[in-house]
């Protein structure tokens, strides 16, 4: 009897504590989540620490630096824009947890630049971004599955899809490396398989094909890749993975004096990050890579020049590289999107503005933007570039030859598109 009373008491106490804590909060009534008279709250999930963080960990601060610059110059219709960064360590389950925090606790208005294919796939499903109508702008992933407007009605890409990238590299291989033995190392998830499928569709046949599982890559693993590539006699090797995997591959290859023509996918080819991860600069010399943006060192470019100035003042001490450039550009495009959505900012209005006006936004990348009522595809093309002994990037053949295509069976064409000019002082005035 005593035991029963005890159990009942404990249950009662536990239930009271549980229900008390759960009832402790109430929903605040808001006109639109994350928007007040003075502030627009945005959120991003990205790896700030962990194996995949080098490079990517700069994007959030770069976006924030641009927002601070805009805020110091009047904000967006008088509202200051703030960005809450959450560290997902490039892990899908953390990404879900952190996105939950952003949406349920921090109550952000929209997500900006969430990073990683597997992460966003899991997050979109788990958190129910589409059902909630939370706009997810400028995804830092090129997975062509995200271009499915029906499944991802409130998400918008910025990068050309991996399928587009692979098609453009396939065309480049055909035009410039015909007859050579080809090898590929790719990340064995949606990211790499997306690219591999497009290579196959384009008729590219690789003599050596090495998939690797997403995650931390050791030098020992890279050694097996290099051995397979060398044994297969690969003269041109395409790498379709993240920078933390490019680094051991190139470092091990350099040590083994294996020097094929490297073609590094756009995701894993940032020179500064590679060098920081211990890759000898000499290995980068001559590596070819598809690129969407100008080189971050090209101060003759109006976008780069403006962003460098902002970086110096608002992101002090951070070296200006591709990631910072990309972050600033996401900031620039986000501000244009917020302005385009009007003073009476709503999530629906932002999605509508992206669909109707998004294709006209100024962006540092050379290729056209594909946003429309039926498409959430961002940039649609690349030019091929060559890295020099300092890791700097120059257009292949001396001038930018822009290729555009789609993620499907459309052809790869040379485009004459001229990107919009940088808004005066880097401050958008669109509406």
């Amino acid at each position: 009897m005593i035991r029963k009373t005890r159990i009942k008491r404990t249950w009662l106490a536990a239930a009271v504590i549980a229900s008390g804590s759960l009832l402790a909060t109430a929903l605040p009534a808001n006109a639109e989540t994350g928007v007040s008279a003075s502030e627009i709250k945005l959120g991003i999930t990205l790896p700030l620490t962990g194996a995949a963080s080098p490079g990517y960990n700069k994007i959030g601060n770069a976006i924030n630096a641009y927002f601070k610059y805009v805020n110091d110059n009047g904000g967006v219709y008088g509202r200051k824009v703030t960005l809450i960064q959450k560290n997902d360590e490039y892990s899908p389950q953390l990404s879900i947890a952190k996105t939950n925090e952003l949406i349920l606790r921090d109550k952000v208005f929209a997500l900006v630049g969430p990073l990683g294919t597997a992460n966003f796939t899991a997050t979109h499903k788990s958190v129910g971004l589409a059902k909630r109508g939370v706009p997810s702008l400028f995804l830092n992933t090129g997975f062509s599955g995200f271009s499915n407007k029906k499944s991802y009605p409130s998400s918008f890409m910025i990068l050309p899809s991996y399928a587009m990238e692979a098609k453009i590299i396939a065309q480049f291989l055909k035009d410039n490396h015909a007859g050579k033995k080809l090898g590929i190392v790719y990340q064995n998830d949606e990211f790499g398989i997306d690219g591999l499928g497009a290579f196959r569709a384009a008729g590219t046949k690789f003599d050596v094909s090495i998939p690797y599982t997403s995650g931390t890559q050791s030098a020992a693993t890279a050694q097996t890749w290099v051995s397979q590539l060398a044994a297969g006699g690969a003269q041109v090797v395409v790498f379709f993975g993240v920078t933390s995997a490019t680094a051991p591959l190139l470092a091990v290859a350099a040590a083994a004096k294996y020097a094929p023509q490297w073609i590094l996918g756009s995701v894993g080819s940032d020179p500064l990050t590679l060098r920081a991860l211990g890759v000898p600069v000499a290995v980068l010399n001559g590596a070819q890579t598809p690129a969407g943006n100008p080189s971050p060192n090209d101060t003759s470019d109006e976008y780069v020049k403006q962003f460098q100035e902002i970086n110096t003042k608002y992101n002090t001490g951070t070296a200006f590289d591709d990631y910072v450039l990309q972050g600033m550009n996401i900031g620039l495009m986000t501000v244009q999107a917020l302005r385009a959505a009007g003073k009476n900012l709503t999530r629906k209005g932002l999605v509508r503005a992206m669909e109707t006006k998004g294709s006209t936004f100024a962006s540092v990348a050379y290729s056209p933007l594909g946003f429309s009522r039926t498409s959430n595809v961002g940039h649609t093309g690349y030019y091929m570039a060559v890295m020099d002994a300092n890791g700097d990037r120059k257009p292949f053949g001396g001038k930018v030859t822009l290729y555009t295509t789609d993620s499907g069976s459309g052809p790869v064409v040379v485009s004459t598109f001229k990107r919009p000019a940088m808004p005066a002082k880097g401050l958008p005035s669109n509406s």
Partner: protein, 333 residues
């Protein structure tokens, strides 16, 4: 109705209490915001996971640091069933129990030969190694894992019925059944036998108890519970991935069980509550300390470790257990 009348009054009372708790939870789920609903689902998951530790350690006296790994087995079992066979969701949860129980039986057979720190070491190795194995096999989805989609809530619940409320309902329903079944097992012949083995294995054997067999049985039942918790965890994040079942989870569970009182089944609710609250505390702390973006991911682990150390130093059986004993010593009125 006839069987209800035939049931013993104690069982009838227990069923009534569980139905009442379920009803209260339903009301709570309707009244609180989505974040709390989501945390409620997590709490239900932790409740099941902690019950598996209480059964194994508190009752049969076997120390396991590898419950996170058993949760992984259950999670992957459920996800592979759901994704490959397209079965109803309840069957996926059932398979989580079956898969983890089978695995637990195998492990239990080996574990019955060792005890104390050796058993803890063996299960710790499991907690470290098992989730990482998933990285090596493509059919397990590598580091990104596999999606585990229980689907949207039924349309008849209306548009206002959110996905997280659906998770909360399912998780609470499963937790109530799991705890009901566990409490019955623990108050049955098996529970008494396990306690006898924990008290004095030799004396229990002299009374005719097959100690090794009963230990394997405890491992099997406990693993089944952990596997079920693993599938509920997978549901709440729509994903099974090695990172979700890492060492940190196993340690958090041990801490939760110790704080709740290792042999107290009702205490698991308190333990689960503490585990859900820790990330909240860490967010508040990180905000105060600055550099919240980076600190946030590491503070929960630190808080768990500190709580475990403090608990072991000051209340070796856990504060929950001390409270119970304190109450027990009070003179009866």
């Amino acid at each position: 109705m006839e069987s209800w009348r035939k049931a013993r009054p104690a069982v009838r009372k227990k069923i009534a209490i569980f139905v009442l708790i379920g009803w209260v939870l339903l009301i709570i789920g309707d009244r609180v915001d989505e974040l709390r609903v989501y945390q409620g689902a997590q709490m239900a998951m932790y409740t099941i996971a902690l019950a598996s530790i209480v059964l194994l350690t508190g009752y049969s006296g076997q120390v396991s640091l590898g419950n996170g790994a058993m949760m992984a087995v259950g999670g992957y079992g459920a996800a592979l069933t759901l994704n490959n066979l397209g079965t109803p969701i309840w069957f996926a949860f059932l398979m989580a129990i079956v898969t983890a129980s089978l695995f637990g039986a195998l492990l239990g057979a080996a574990a019955a030969r060792v005890s104390g720190p050796y058993l803890a070491g063996t299960t710790l190795a499991l907690a470290v190694g098992l989730p990482a194995i998933a990285n090596q096999f493509a059919f397990l989805g590598g580091e990104p894992g596999l999606l585990f989609d229980v689907g949207f809530p039924p349309e008849r619940f209306g548009d206002e019925f959110t996905q997280y409320k659906w998770f909360f309902w399912i998780a609470c329903f499963i937790a109530l059944i799991a705890i009901f079944v566990t409490s019955n097992i623990l108050s049955s012949r098996f529970g008494r036998t396990w306690r006898a083995i924990r008290g004095n294995s030799l004396a229990a054997e002299l009374c005719g108890v097959h100690s090794a067999r009963m230990k394997v049985l405890a491992f099997t039942v406990s693993s089944g519970l952990a596997g079920l918790a693993g599938a509920v965890l997978a549901m709440t994040i729509s994903l099974v991935a090695p990172g979700a079942y890492g060492l940190a989870l196993s340690f958090a569970l041990v801490t939760g069980a110790v704080l709740a009182g290792i042999s107290s089944l009702p205490g698991v609710v308190l333990g689960a509550f503490i585990l859900v609250v820790i990330p909240e505390i860490s967010v508040a702390l990180a905000d105060r300390l600055g550099d919240a973006d980076k600190l946030n991911n590491y503070l929960p682990g630190l808080i768990v470790s500190v709580l475990l150390i403090l608990s072991v130093i000051f209340t070796p059986n856990g504060p929950g257990e001390n409270l119970r004993k304190h109450r027990h010593k009070k003179p009866a009125h």
